[in-house]
């Protein structure tokens, strides 16, 4: 509907927008807030769970490594104290000790040797040819001499195989000393670390304080390579932190300094891998949000559109009804006024009639006047005028009375003539030719006389407005095949454009608004026709003319209300 035709009704677009925004806001804001909170909480709980799990693995692994080393160190300390210098220097005894150690502790012990205070290896049992080697300049040797016991970093040594050394100092009663040294292979650590069940592409390895790998790493290098990740700062408990690795990927690192050793246990995991389960949850949350928002918006939009449309229709109907009532009241007022005027005029007219009639009688009965043709003509003219005036007042009264009429037998010709009587004067002044052709076989039928009068009056008035002076209007009525009567009003006026034709029966649509058209005449006509069970169709061609066709049922009491509207462009 154009703004012109709906301008005085409510702004439904604004109502619709307000309803959508308000209900949408109330429904969506809490949903979005809750989803965001849930998103954050879930993400944080998964992250903290990952960190906690990493810390736990670090602690457990540290405990195992620590136990492994301290067990072996204690065994060596015991052996050093329990054996005399001589028995330690006895190759058979040393072999027996090594075999016992290997038997009791499983893997780990590769060889064992006794080094004197000059750094020379005095006794040695093991797979390498190391007897007689001097270790005076080796760091582990001086550490053991200084501190009594020492666990070394992993190094290659003379054997050129990665290993570590546990060295224990034995002080003799005479003050001299010797060092009992055992080489531990890294295989037990490798096995321990590789047996860990690590999620998220986990990598467990040991480094020393300089960041040199003490065990091979799955992703960060071989034994004795320099670790590319940063070396964590000292802490006496298990710690977890996040970094970006050399590929720029987020990594979670758990670490623990192993007491009394030069080792740091490191467990490195890919955060992306760890958060994989979160990504699934995140996708579900986002999908939930999108689906919820879509459903809510669809329901809100649908409901708002439906409701506002209903309100619009109801409002239009209300306004139409108000205008119809107003229109009917106006017509009734005009009717009452016409009746009252006609009545008031009728009385003096009756007196004039009698007086003039008396004069005429006197002319007839008194011979001296009857011979005066001029006087006779004057009196006849007066009487004729009185008769004419009487006819007019009678028509007015009939019309006014019929406006209030309800269902009654109708002679179509009479109703059309009654209406035309009102318009003939305008037709004469404007030289409009009215041609009425009512088929004689149309029977008397039941209808609402008042409504029919209004319908015909509106349509003929409409035709007059479209006609220029000298135009013509043809009114034809005939029976249709299906027991109805069809009345056609065809004018050769300015016609109606195709676009306007689409809206012609809409309330408040007017092409003559500037001339005071309300845009209600034809919509009221349309409703009146529908009320008496008829149909109205309009065809038109601009600058050629318009034809309104009204089809009325001969008996309308059974099929009232089955009206429809069809518009055919001409």
């Amino acid at each position: 509907m154009s703004p012109e035709t709906s301008g005085h009704l409510f702004n439904y677009r604004r109502i619709w927008r307000s309803v959508v925004l308000l209900t949408g806001g109330v429904a969506l804001v809490p949903l979005i807030v809750i989803t965001i909170v849930d998103y954050k909480v879930t993400q944080q709980s998964i992250e903290s769970e990952i960190l906690m799990r990493t810390t736990r693995i670090v602690s457990n692994t540290r405990r195992a490594i620590s136990f492994f080393l301290s067990e072996r160190r204690s065994a060596l300390e015991f052996i050093a104290q329990d054996n005399s210098f001589e028995s330690l220097n006895d190759p058979k005894r040393l072999l027996s000790i090594l075999e016992n150690l290997q038997k009791s502790f499983g893997g780990g012990f590769v060889d064992i040797g006794v080094i004197d205070s000059s750094g020379n290896q005095r006794n040695y049992v093991g797979p390498y040819e190391l007897e007689g080697r001097n270790y005076l300049d080796q760091e582990w040797y001086s550490e053991a001499v200084d501190h009594g016991v020492h666990i070394s970093d992993v190094f290659l040594g003379y054997r050129q195989v990665p290993h570590m050394v546990i060295a224990v100092k034995r002080v003799m009663p005479d003050g001299s000393f010797c060092i009992l040294r055992a080489a531990i292979g890294i295989t037990p650590f490798e096995e321990l670390l590789s047996n860990l069940e690590l999620e998220g592409m986990g990598d467990a390895f040991i480094i020393n304080y300089e960041g040199i790998l003490q065990t091979p790493s799955r992703y960060h290098g071989k034994v004795l390579d320099k670790l590319s990740l940063e070396i964590p700062s000292y802490s006496n408990k298990s710690e977890v932190f996040e970094v970006k690795d050399s590929d720029g990927q987020d990594a979670v690192i758990g670490y623990r300094f192993i007491d009394k050793t030069p080792f740091i246990l490191m467990i490195v995991k890919s955060k992306q891998e760890l958060m994989r389960s979160w990504f699934g949850t995140r996708l579900e949350l986002i999908a939930f949000l999108i689906i919820s928002v879509t459903v809510i918006l669809t329901v809100i939009l649908g409901t708002a559109t439906f409701m506002v449309k209903k309100i619009k229709i109801a409002d239009k109907r209300r306004v139409m009804t108000l205008h119809e009532i107003e229109y009917a009241n106006k017509l009734a007022s005009i009717g009452r006024l016409a009746a009252s005027v006609a009545h008031e005029i009728n009385n003096p007219l009756a007196i004039i009639n009698e007086k003039a009639g008396l004069i005429k009688d006197l002319f007839i009965y008194k011979k001296e006047y009857s011979q005066n043709p001029k006087l006779n003509k004057v009196v006849d003219d007066i009487l004729r005028s009185i008769k004419r005036a009487g006819t007019i007042t009678r028509r007015l009264l009939t019309f006014a009375r019929n406006l209030q009429a309800e269902i009654q037998p109708i002679i179509l010709n009479d109703v059309i003539e009654e209406v035309l009587n009102f318009l003939r004067n305008e037709a004469e002044v404007r030289d409009i030719n009215i041609d009425v052709d009512i088929s004689e076989d149309i029977p008397m039928f039941e209808s609402d006389r008042g409504k029919l009068q209004q319908i015909f009056l509106n349509i003929i008035n409409n035709a007059f407005a479209a006609l220029s002076d000298g135009g013509s209007l043809k009114i034809e009525a005939m029976l249709t095949g299906d027991g109805a009567v069809s009345i056609e009003f065809t004018d050769n006026g300015c016609g109606i454009s195709q676009e306007n034709l689409m809206h012609i029966f809409e309330p408040f649509f007017s092409t003559r608004r500037s001339e005071g058209g309300t845009g209600l005449g034809l919509s009221i006509t349309y409703n009146l026709v529908r009320e008496i069970g008829g149909r109205i169709v309009v065809t038109s061609e601009p600058s050629k003319g318009t034809r309104f066709t009204i089809t009325l049922p001969i008996r309308n009491s059974e099929n009232e209300g089955e009206a429809d509207e069809s518009i055919i462009g001409g």
Binding site: N346, E354, G390, L397
Partner: protein, 117 residues
């Protein structure tokens, strides 16, 4: 034929009476219903022509009163309101013999009178 004419418009009723007299019909006129009732007590009328709308006692009420006194009296109503067609149905109901709308054609009135009597 004696006719009683009752209408509150004296100019109308007196002139109508005079014109009827000219045509040989004895017409008595009054301008009030009360006077008409009085006349009906002392005189016999064949027919009454009554205006519908009159002060105090209207045409229809007057008809009942006159009929009480003279049951054989016939009635024609005159009115300035509506058309003959409008009153077709109710005139029979009210017991009126004819309904005529002002201004009245005297020949038509006499014609109706003759038909009744």
């Amino acid at each position: 034929m004696r006719v009683l004419l009752v209408d509150d418009e004296e100019e109308f009723v007196s002139t109508l009476a005079e014109r009827l007299s000219m045509r040989g019909i004895e017409a008595v006129w009054t301008t009030t219903s009360l006077e008409a009732i009085e006349r009906a007590e002392s005189e016999i009328f064949d027919l009454a022509v009554l205006d519908v709308k009159m002060p105090k006692i209207g045409g229809f009420a007057l008809k009942d009163k006159l009929q009480d006194k003279q049951p054989d009296m016939k009635f024609i109503f005159l009115t300035g309101y509506g058309s003959e067609q409008d009153f077709k149905s109710i005139s029979a109901m009210l017991g009126a013999d004819y309904y005529l709308v002002k201004p009245v054609d005297i020949e038509a009135l006499i014609d109706k009178m003759k038909k009744i009597l």
